[in-house]
């Protein structure tokens, strides 16, 4: 699992550190842009506005870090069975690794990760999918939504989707009569011109 740089990219502590550095770099970058604009004579408001695209990216990176870091902290705190802990760890890894692949540019541009490492992460994401598949239904069952709350024929707990889809269709007001009144008004005159 170790990469050429000798790092275990699935290690939760490393993942948190990577996100931390990415957030810090983005904030520093945005902050530098604000400073640069000010040194050109813009006031603070003007400088912030000029750097606003970078600032939004920085705030996103920071918020993303908070979610990743908090997920990791919760994993440390939880007193649960080993099997559940392992599954939650896989979810954490998937969340953190997939987040990196989606924002890989930000991890690459400052050398936080190498191109080889990003490619390895993409593969890890794919490898995690079948592991999570085993518990996917159990993991959504755990949210404990009653059918009345979910309000979805497709998401029913019993999975009797097709029978219920047909019942739903039959309850459509358009099915109250075989021939709809609009036939006499519009279709019939058209068809019998």
């Amino acid at each position: 699992r170790a990469t050429s740089a000798g790092r275990d990219l699935k290690d939760p502590r490393l993942l948190v550190a990577l996100y931390k550095e990415r957030a810090m770099r983005q904030i520093m970058f945005a902050s530098d842009k604000v400073e640069a604009a000010r040194s050109e004579g813009l006031d603070l408001v003007g400088a912030l506005n000029r750097a606003s695209v970078h600032l939004v990216r920085a705030a996103n990176a920071h918020s993303h870090l908070l979610v990743v870091e908090n997920f990791h902290e919760k994993l440390q705190e939880l007193k649960v069975s080993q099997k559940l802990k392992k599954t939650l760890l896989q979810l954490f890894q998937l969340y953190a690794l997939d987040g990196i692949t989606n924002c890989s540019g930000e991890f690459l541009e400052d050398g936080i990760l190498s191109g080889t490492e990003v490619k390895a992460i993409r593969q890890y994401v794919v490898e995690l999918l079948p592991l999570i598949r085993v518990n996917a239904v159990a993991l959504v069952d755990a949210f404990d939504f009653r059918d009345e709350v979910l309000d979805s024929v497709l998401g029913r707990y019993d999975g009797n989707v097709y029978e219920e889809l047909l019942k739903w269709a039959l309850s459509s007001p358009l099915n109250k009569t075989d021939v709809h009144p609009s036939y006499d008004k519009y279709l019939k005159p058209l068809l019998h011109r």
């Binding site: 550095e21 957030a23 810090m24 904030i27 520093m28 945005a30 902050s31 912030l48 939004v56 920085a58 705030a59 996103n60 920071h62 918020s63 993303h64 908070l66 979610v67 908090n70 997920f71 919760k74 649960v80 069975s81 559940l84 599954t87 939650l88 979810l91 998937l94 969340y95 994401v125 794919v126 999918l129 079948p130 999570i132 598949r133 085993v134 518990n135 996917a136 239904v137 159990a138 993991l139 959504v140 755990a142 949210f143 404990d144 939504f145 009653r146 709350v149 979910l150 309000d151 979805s152 024929v153 497709l154 998401g155 999975g159 009797n160 989707v161 219920e164 889809l165 309850s171 007001p173």
Partner: protein
């Protein structure tokens, strides 16, 4: 049970119930949640024909009917409703199509509780709690949203009568969008520019009576109405309000932090952000809503993907479950992981809000900016991810995701306003960013930074180490 779905459950290595207990904060809370659900869903009063087959007017009436019943039946539930979270859960269950009194019990009550003087609190809170009045929170205007300092509604103080005179001086100053404002509420916390002794002191909140408590007619100087059909929330009368020389007593300004004396002398609040504290509370609730929204979406899509069989992996073989395709797993499992990540972070957000709010009540304002930065950033980040995620979930259900029966259209249209209300997401991220840039500077100067931004006082080498 569908055999494919059952097979998935049989093959699982975890006990979902163990996880459910974690999500709902232990066995006792989980038991309470389930009893509350039983109480609501076994009650015929909460049943109606599906929302999708109702007109907008019928949806509104059904929403009001259920909301009113929920109030009258709440007391009988005793220990099942112990705190505000229980109340929100109960109302959501009972009035699933849109709770008419959500703002009455959240932003209206919270504003008065946190920002009114003790005298006004003693006067208003019993009326609010007994539903002798119905309140909402009127902040947004037709021409002004997240930028509160740009709001145009005015409140001029008249020392001769010791009253505020409220006006909507322009078309764009018309209050626009507040929930339950159009037809339901009798009162509102109205945000307006305060003028006294010829000077503007910025946005301040005022309790304003809108409708007669006798016949529910709008009061003189008040024009009220519903803003019309929307993307979702058909059962809610998001309304408009215009004020024309409407007078309210001086005491109706929420004056815990900033005051106007009888002679018109103004005392400013210790922190400007205190005026917007109610929004911080709602933003923390939106992080929670994001977690639940995405959890609902992934539940529907993953269960259906286990039931649905599609195409052939190899010619001649039976159709596999859609869930067996790596591409389907790649669409849904990162979102499932995201739902769990958001569940945990919403707990942290709500805990942080409670701690900081307590500190504010004790006169300690040191963490207000951190709370604003945290709640703004997380609200924007989680609601955007959920908004996009729900659409991915819907499309992962193929054509059936397009039917109302999938639950996705309603889930999406009811969730998506979270990206624009209580602060448009881009604006919120910019607010967070300003706090981050400021923290970075302070960190570089060696200042001790609060928890969520403490890392900004390190340098990159330290982080890597």
């Amino acid at each position: 049970i569908n055999p494919d779905l059952q097979r998935e459950r049989d093959a699982a290595t975890i006990d979902p119930e163990e996880l459910t207990r974690i999500i709902f904060d232990g066995a006792k809370e989980l038991d309470k949640k389930r009893k509350l659900e039983d109480a609501v869903f076994n009650d015929p009063d909460y049943k109606s024909i599906p929302l999708n087959f109702m007109s907008r007017e019928e949806q509104y009436e059904e929403g009001i009917r259920r909301s009113a019943i929920a109030v009258t039946k709440k007391e009988a539930l005793g220990d099942l409703i112990e705190n505000h979270n229980d109340l929100i859960s109960y109302n959501t269950l009972a009035c699933g199509i849109g709770n008419a009194f959500f703002l009455h019990e959240s932003m209206f009550a919270d504003s008065i509780k946190r920002m009114a003087t003790d005298e006004l609190k003693q006067k208003m809170m019993p009326l609010q709690q007994k539903f002798e009045i119905i309140g909402t929170y009127a902040q947004t205007e037709m021409g002004h949203g997240t930028f509160l300092r740009g709001l145009e509604t005015t409140a001029h103080y008249d020392p001769n009568t010791q009253e505020f005179v409220l006006n909507s001086p322009t078309v764009t100053s018309t209050k626009w969008w507040p929930g339950a404002l159009g037809k339901t509420s009798t009162h509102a916390v109205v945000l307006a520019q305060l003028y006294t002794q010829g000077k503007c002191h910025g946005i301040h909140p005022f309790v304003v009576q809108l409708r007669s408590l006798e016949d529910h007619k709008s009061l003189p100087g008040i024009t009220l109405g519903d803003i019309g059909p929307k993307f979702g929330y058909g059962a809610n009368d998001n309304g408009f309000l215009r004020l024309n020389n409407h007078r309210i007593p001086r005491e109706n300004m929420l004056m815990k932090y900033s005051q106007v004396a009888p002679d018109g002398t103004y005392t400013k609040p210790p922190k400007a952000e205190l005026t917007y504290g109610t929004m911080t509370f709602i933003r923390s609730m939106i992080v929670r809503a994001s977690a639940f929204g995405l959890a609902r979406g992934t539940t529907i899509a993953i269960r259906y993907s286990a039931v649905r069989r599609q195409s052939e992996m190899r010619p001649g073989e039976p159709e596999p479950q859609v869930l067996s395709y790596p591409t389907q797993q790649y669409k849904l499992f990162p979102l499932l992981a995201t739902a769990y990540a958001f569940f945990f972070v919403q707990k942290k957000m709500v805990e942080t809000y409670s701690v900081v709010n307590q500190q504010i009540n004790d006169g300690d304002y040191t963490r207000i900016q951190e709370l604003h930065g945290l709640s703004s950033g997380l609200k924007a980040f989680t609601s955007w991810a959920t908004n996009v995620g729900l659409e991915i979930c819907r499309m992962s259900c193929g054509g059936h995701g397009y039917s109302m029966s999938s639950g996705f259209p309603k889930l999406y249209v009811d969730f998506t306003p979270n990206c624009t209300y209580e602060g448009e997401n881009t604006v919120l991220l910019l607010q967070t960013a300003r706090f981050l840039v400021k923290s970075l500077k302070e960190g570089k100067r060696g200042a001790k930074l609060p928890g969520t931004v403490a890392y900004l006082s390190s340098n990159v080498t330290e982080l890597r180490a």
